[in-house]
């Protein structure tokens, strides 16, 4: 299984903070397509992702047990 995390406006759009889903073997780009179709997330292409708290690339492959976070443009400071 994998855990997905949503933050800021993505959390509002997805209607959930976390989701459990098995997406091991898929790429980040494939996962983005899945979540945008199944959870109605818009403009997800411009969102950064992290695998296990490290920034990831679209062609990174998800492993069993990975936590994937969808990180909209940040606005701290």
């Amino acid at each position: 299984m994998n855990k997905l995390l949503f933050f800021a406006h993505l959390k509002d759009e997805a209607g959930a903070e976390t989701l459990s889903i098995d997406v091991s073997g898929k790429t980040i780009a494939e996962l983005k397509t899945i979540v945008s179709e199944q959870h109605g997330l818009t403009k997800i292409d411009s969102v950064m992702t992290a695998i296990n708290e490290e920034f990831a690339e679209d062609d990174d492959i998800i492993q069993q047990g990975d936590t994937i976070a969808f990180i909209p443009p940040v606005s701290g400071g």
Partner: protein
Amino acid sequence: MKFQISKEPINIQQVIDQVVQREAGAITTFIGTVREITHGKKTLYLVYEAYESMAVKRLEQIGKEIEERWKGADVAIVHRVGKLDITDVAVVIAVSTPHRADAYEANRYAIERIKEIVPIWKKEHWEDGQEWIGNQLETVAYSKGEPEAKHLDE
């Protein structure tokens, strides 16, 4: 704990105390506060949210980057989360270095990097609504997996 996300008001002196070192000739402190008027629009209050475990790692990364770039630098950063009113302190950065020029430069570097790579978001609450703030044009794709200098606004 030199790099923290805090749900409570930040104790500024405690952040400074963490970078005190005998080798230092300067400590610069940056205090980021909640501004009332942005582009003519009045903010009532802000809510900050963080991906806390990753945010702490990225703050630690910024500390490491600074120690590599400015010899002898010591860094502490605390960022607040939750509801903040106008004038409240959102972030405190303390940097000590042997000479003052480096302390100013390294501190500036820290706040700019926070705005690039630390997963923290603010939601602005106005009289007529609310919105998560990020890239407000929603046109930015981070091709390198993280924002670059050109993506910075304020």
